[in-house]
């Protein structure tokens, strides 16, 4: 399926079920869609971005990615689709777009650990909710019968064990969510990977827009990142993290 067809399907789907953006956000979103359909991709990207400033939705990010891609902004497009997939992993649109865009640009997909790969199965909020609920359920099943002076039944024990098991299982994905939050996408073309966090630093490698990086730490306006080409410093505005801040 080509990007164009997917783009139209996405737009139609989003127009049919426009989420509750609020009046201003919805207007901006509609402006974005109209601009996109009229071929004014820059204006569309601005509108989608303004809509995101009001409310963040996976669909808006998906459309923003399309508008950026049409302008030749590979890095911004991949970052938007990654953010869309971060918010809503069930939508295959972002994933298909990502794989096609990376294939065309000759880029490798994100390097994820096992925990991080598991964390992509569900939205991050769901993993956190699952951990919280299961923990409290396990605690409740152990303590509440005694609190209400009732005899502990077998199902109490079973439910407590199941909840505890669920809690333990959700720990790894939650760790994955935390570590994946430091993953980013380079948005600037020919980003210089510097040896030191200074403007005059020696450039150890040049990275293409859309390449992934992992933030290790910060210093001033620079991030120390791990990339496929090694570790080095980039300017903060040269990359976007997957987790929207």
């Amino acid at each position: 399926m080509t990007l164009a067809i997917k783009k139209l399907l996405t737009l139609v789907a989003l127009l049919m079920g426009t989420p509750a953006l609020g009046t201003a956000g919805a207007d901006l979103f509609r402006d974005g869609v109209e601009s996109y359909e009229a071929g004014r991709y820059e204006s569309a990207a601005h509108s989608f971005q303004a809509s995101l400033d009001k409310h963040v939705f996976a669909g808006t990010l998906l459309n923003l990615g399309l508008a950026e891609w049409q302008q030749g902004h590979t890095g911004e497009a991949i970052a938007a689709w990654e953010q869309s997939a971060w918010l809503n992993p069930f939508d295959p649109g972002a994933r298909i777009n990502l794989s096609q865009a990376r294939e065309r640009a000759g880029l490798d997909p994100l390097e994820l650990t096992r925990c991080e790969r598991t964390s992509t199965w569900l939205p991050p909020g769901l993993w956190a909710g699952m951990a919280t609920l299961s923990l409290w359920l396990a605690v409740a099943m152990v303590t509440l019968p005694e609190f209400f002076r009732r005899r502990k039944a077998g199902w109490h024990q079973t439910l407590s064990a199941l909840a505890l098991g669920l809690f333990l299982l959700s720990l790894a994905p939650n760790i994955g969510v935390l570590t994946r939050a430091n993953t980013g996408i380079l948005t600037e073309k020919n980003t210089s990977l510097r040896r030191t966090p200074t403007p005059s630093a020696e450039v150890v490698a040049t990275l293409a827009a859309g390449e992934s990086c992992r933030r290790l730490r910060e210093r001033g306006d620079y991030w120390l990142v791990h990339t496929r080409r090694g570790n080095g410093w980039i300017e903060r505005q040269q990359a976007q993290l997957l987790r929207l801040e």
């Binding site: 030191t196 200074t198 403007p199 005059s200 630093a201 020696e202 210093r219 570790n231």
Partner: protein, 324 residues
């Protein structure tokens, strides 16, 4: 226990100790003859160890090793060590640039000037001879022109080699400048780094001036060579057969362009040229050299020009920082 027996016990213990020491020393004596190899020096691992090792190599004059160690120290990304490592790396790279400059063929300006004068003389004589149509004058002008061309080729080759050496130096000094600037950016209180950056910038400006001069002289030589070549070809065409100089077709460098096959008697001339560097054309075109010069500063700011050129090139002060 009586006092006497106590004394005897004490003496026994003293005797035992002496005996033990004696055995130990006797046992140790043969071992002393064997050469004990010193423990291998620990491989530097941390940023601080790498920095110290790099600084020691810098003091020992091993610039390549020092550069590698200091770069590894920087790659460890330890905030405390980075400014000092950058400072010393600036010294290392400046010294490397200076070393590259020493390998340059020396002062090429006088040689270039002499070659230019000889070329002018050759052109003048060839023009006059062509105008006069006197065979003897044409033969004499031809020989003068050939000599001038050879001199210009040698000068062009010297300029080319000097430009290459200067280019290497320029690259190293630019790195050195960035290292000192980075050190100053990381630790703004480091006035030594700021001062060294200024000195390196001045040295680069002088180097660029000298490269510009070389570039201009190379361009002048190239133009004269082309003109003289054309005049010599005309002279050769007008000199009658018996006056033709032996090996002439092969020694003017025209065999490739004229399409004439070299005659057996001209092969010695070809061999001689191939041994001395082929066609002796300037590999670095004026445009390319201009590009090289224009890429001097990434920020696009012009370097301070107008240095007198006679004063001794400045060297960064405070050779290296302390070893921790």
């Amino acid at each position: 226990m009586s006092r006497k027996s106590q004394t005897r016990t004490f003496q026994s213990w003293v005797f035992f100790c002496y005996l033990t020491l004696g055995f130990v020393s006797w046992g140790a004596t043969p071992e002393a003859d064997t050469v004990i190899s010193p423990a291998p020096a620990p491989v530097p691992q941390t940023a601080r160890e790498l920095y110290n090792a790099g600084s020691r190599q810098l003091q020992a004059g091993k610039l390549g090793d020092a550069e590698a160690l200091l770069e590894s120290s920087l790659d460890q990304q330890e905030d405390v060590v980075q400014p000092a490592a950058l400072f010393n790396l600036g010294h290392v790279r400046f010294a490397q640039g200076t070393e590259a400059l020493k390998k340059s063929p020396g002062e090429v300006a006088p040689q270039s000037r002499r070659a230019t004068e000889a070329g002018d003389e050759g052109i003048r004589k060839a023009t006059e001879a062509l105008a006069s149509s006197d065979v003897a004058q044409m033969v004499a002008a031809y020989w003068t022109g050939r000599g001038a061309r050879q001199e210009m080729r040698a000068a062009t080759d010297a300029v080319r080699r000097a430009m290459e050496a200067h280019g290497k130096t320029l690259a190293k000094w630019r790195q050195s400048l960035n290292d000192f600037r980075s050190a100053a950016e990381l630790r703004p209180s480091d006035t030594n780094a700021v001062r060294n950056a200024e000195i390196v910038a001045q040295a680069i400006a002088r180097l660029v001036d000298s490269m510009r001069e070389m570039q201009q002289s190379a361009a002048g030589l190239s133009g004269r060579q082309t003109e003289l070549k054309s005049l010599l070809a005309q002279l050769k065409g007008r000199i009658p057969g018996p006056s033709q100089t032996p090996g002439a077709p092969g020694e003017d460098g025209e065999e490739g362009e004229g399409g004439d096959q070299p005659l057996p008697e001209s092969l010695s001339g070809l061999e001689e040229r191939s041994g001395s560097g082929g066609g002796l054309e300037l590999n670095l075109s004026p445009e390319k050299a201009g590009e090289l010069l224009n890429t001097l500063q990434a920020d696009g700011k012009p370097l301070p020009l107008g240095q007198d050129g006679k004063s001794e090139m400045g060297k960064p002060r405070d050779r290296s920082q302390r070893v921790w």
